[in-house]
Amino acid sequence: MNTFIQLALFFGALILLTPVLGKYIKKVIGGEKHLLTPVFGWLERLIYRFCGVDPQQEMNWKQYLFALLWFNFFGFVVVFALQMAQAWLPLNPAKVPNTSWHLALNTAISFVTNTNWQSYSGESTMSYLTQMAALGVQNFLSAATGLAVLIALMKGLIKNTKQQLGNFWVDLTRSVVYILLPLSIIFAVVLVSQGVVQTFSSYTDATTLEGVKQVIPLGPAASQIAIKQLGTNGGGFFGVNSAHPFENPTPFSNFLEMLALLLISAALTYTYGLFIGSKKQGWTLFGAMLIILCVGLGVSLYAEYAANPALHITGSMEGKETRFGIVNSIIWSTSTTVASNGSVNAMHDSLSPLAGLVAMFNIMLGEVVFGGVGSGLYGMIAFVILTVFIAGLMVGRTPEYLGKKIESFEVRMALIAVLAPAVCILAFTAIAVSTHAGLAGLNNKGPHGLSEILYAFTSACGNNGSAFAGLTTNTPFYNVLLSICMLVGRFGVIIPMMAIAGSMAGKKITPVSSGTFHTDNGMFLILLISVIIIVGGLTFFPALSLGPILEHLLMQAGMTF
């Protein structure tokens, strides 16, 4: 009973907040007057003036992309440098040393690409300065970058034979100042009230009741956790992420953190509907996402409550926290994987095979089911273009979306966006399982070992960041390979989507006629879900059969490894 109440509360809150926040975001990115204009308007104008940005000056898609890539490159350099020099810099009370070059490389790419894959544990590896000024900053900026790409794409879709897509610096600034920062402030303060730590003091010592020394790790955690959830980043302040009682102390903090990780991405579907002048289109996309999420959640819950004949246990709590129980661990594991967030409140490595499969499969779908802030929806639009194209082939008519012709260029770009991460996942997993360096880090034997490696590359390519964390990845082999995956998974999608934005902007909008294929009804919703599942399913089915599916069958037979 309690399970159903918690599920209802979670989805109820998500559905109710979607139009509220969606409307607000529309006003922000449209440059209209809104709630926070009087509060932060001065800050926005000050930033433009100081940075020499003319907010009226528009960019074409190449200029927009160019600005974005440079900006992300600078971000990478800063994060890399701060890790390599943290031992000599202030705000390092725990005296952690500089990181290795390959960990710095991996972490820098990871946070710039909104992946937040972590080959390290924050409390023993990163100084407060690195956490705040490098990792915390990229939590904001990588989310804002994703949002900016989406804004440009939306503008491209509604422009009638124009080249201009707005100004990257303006979209970035507004995203941070009006959306990410205010929401983070609210969330952070509420999280502290629940017990999330927020201090610059160094770690303290306690003596346990049995007289043993226990170090209490501290730090400015709440401020970072708020944005790591809201910005679909997912990189924990502490190594065990939101399972750590200092990151997620109570069931209420857990509820808020789960909500936060889907909140903005869900709201953006509504914003999208408003932007293109049809709320129904927005709700159709929201519906497709919600259906895929709920089916996966159902399968995972069933699998987790079922008996495990191999371990002789029913409803295993391995890797889970008592205060959350199974249901909250599983709402989280499915939400964090559809949402490209990647934070965890239970260890995915210890999930039952089918729940682990759903987590992996959610990422393999391309992180388009809600997905990352901005990136989820622009990825989804790639699938929409493919669906419209396939529907066009079936009825033998030139495919159109929002009154614009979809031609071979757009289809090719959408295919690159969808397939580049997929190719990377499979190729790199193949390399890892056939080399000594790849197999060296395994924590589990049997088919679960394959799942650990497959999950790692899936997570990196999907810019998710969650892990089957038993796999030891802080090695040059994994750090470098996973870095490549994260770059492909991010920019292998951003670049083609920006190209689509540019080419769509230049097209003429033809009015709706009787021959128009509608993209806002149940028929389209089913087609869209089918295309997403078929692309995800067919591409990865063989690999999944050898990993989690085989493990499930062997577990049913009571086998262990």
């Binding site: 409390e123 502290v192 927020q198 346990t208 009741l209 049995e210 065990v240 890797g319």
Partner: protein, 191 residues
Amino acid sequence: MKKSILSGLKILLVFTLLTGMVYPLMITGIAQAVFPRQSNGSIISIGQKSCGSELLGQEFKSERYFWSRPSACSYATLPSGASNWGPTSDTLRKTIEKRRASFIIANHLPLNTVVSNEMVTASGSGLDPHISPESATLQIERVTSARHFSPSQAQQLRKLVASHTEQPQFGCLGERRVNVLELNRDLDLLR
């Protein structure tokens, strides 16, 4: 183009200051002013001495205390961690069997006792401060005899466990649970 690169550098600088310095400092200021206890780790003290955090689990080995869940890192905090053993791990199967058997023996329980799941598995954080009320109840007998409690003290202990049983937050969120450190602290005060 050059102008664009320069703008990028400046924007990065501005946002590093804003989101990397001003924002965490502001939250720290608010947190320390409004929630000083929570923001500093919800420390539990006995007299002047800190004996841990209400939120972080501790390892209890003595017969005289209630025991926490198994932990893959033995409640170490730098860093803490989970076992990450999978659902078909032979090591995990053996470990669960061993924990179940030793819990039953140590608590002088009938061999067919159902030990609740969290007591035979390790948590995700390695620092889970809670156990289920069922697991606390199963340990009452052992604690009573280790402390040579009289029947009336044993009765008080039962009441103590009941009063330390937290219900789901707001009546619906999360699970019923007992904070082991808080229970043990109050156990020491029992006369």
